[in-house]
Symmetry: C2
Subunit: 249 residues, 2 copies
Amino acid sequence: MEQIESSANGRIKEWAKLLQKKERDKTGRFLAEGDHLIEEALREGLVEVIISDHAQDYAFEPKILAPSHVVAKLSASVSGAHSVAVCRQKKAEPSAMNRILMLDGIQDPGNLGTLIRTAVSFQYDAVICSEKTVDLYNDKVIRSTQGSLFHIPVLRTDLEACVRQLQDEGVCVIATTLEDAVPLSSLSRPERYAVILGNEGSGVSRVLQDSADVRVRIEMAGFESLNVAVAGGIMMYELSEKPEIGGRQ
Amino acid sequence: MEQIESSANGRIKEWAKLLQKKERDKTGRFLAEGDHLIEEALREGLVEVIISDHAQDYAFEPKILAPSHVVAKLSASVSGAHSVAVCRQKKAEPSAMNRILMLDGIQDPGNLGTLIRTAVSFQYDAVICSEKTVDLYNDKVIRSTQGSLFHIPVLRTDLEACVRQLQDEGVCVIATTLEDAVPLSSLSRPERYAVILGNEGSGVSRVLQDSADVRVRIEMAGFESLNVAVAGGIMMYELSEKPEIGGRQ
């Protein structure tokens, strides 16, 4: 098994650049740290190489044994990490998708991670983020997804063009807003649909609201608003198919 | 207007103790920082005194003008604060409540804050936390509630005794679990109900599951689980009364 002893090693330095968003975007790669996330990435076939202070425990090849102070150079966490994997980003095409979550400028990494986790729970086919959405491969996002990031394609693109493309393909685009909207409980589920959720402060952009096929609001009697990850969970649950139960008991 | 110039002042030192949970529990007081949270606390009549480097801007009395390095002694945030208010904790009795959220050992401050915010949005009458739940007056919890903490009574008590008391009063207790549970969409709304959500890792405790009147699960086809704040949002929305719409359109 290959070993690297020094954090001045050229490949370590090259991989450490993946801690920066610019490099992740350029190369289509990212770093996953910790045994749990690496297992999930392995299951999805996304891992290119594992660098670990207990590399012998991984059945995967190629792997590199390195002391923890070297592995720490590839870690985004203050306390370092014992294992890091260099991974390929999962790619997909938005055609032939039936359930899509679109995120317009989500800024909080925890919210983005939780929304991805929820989309996987409700078997969405993809998550499509606007360019302004917080970086997907931010370590806080990866942690909040609880490993589910590797089970769903997540794209980053221009949402306005994407909405037009989806509509051309017969996908019903649903925007969540507070004004000029039908109550969620009155909405019947389209066969193929995309749900757009907006930025924590400003919501779904005006342009996207106007181009959506339906505008929906979550009925609330009380306080001003919901956290966007909670609103997304309610939307996804409500639109999901439930087993037939012959009406409420 | 009174002024304090030194952070060695006896009252500043006394109030700074409220940064510790023990002192908050002992005194029934807590610190709210920032203009937005202080406005919300003022609206609910919970403020005892405001300490601020722009105290003249507050219509409230008593207020104390202090330089920002003194106010910072009362702040939980690294970057300090310009205004802090000493507040009374809101108290309430669980009788005569129709909609109650019970939290059994929630550990993440962001989850607790988001759940409180959601409960206010769906007009719950109270949130009741187990003794093991993360401290309510943790500054991260207060921030995640977005000021809604002041609009709802939040109690901390022994949940097992509380469940029995509520059941004696005719409240239907609903526990969220994964096993031996009816699907959420098959549940009809009881007139008075309490929803129990559990710890992020271990869920609702066995004892509480067994004593609940109903066990409910959120139908999902995909991945393992939902974030507890998302699960809580789905439960609260689904159980809420929607305007009559003559069936789905």
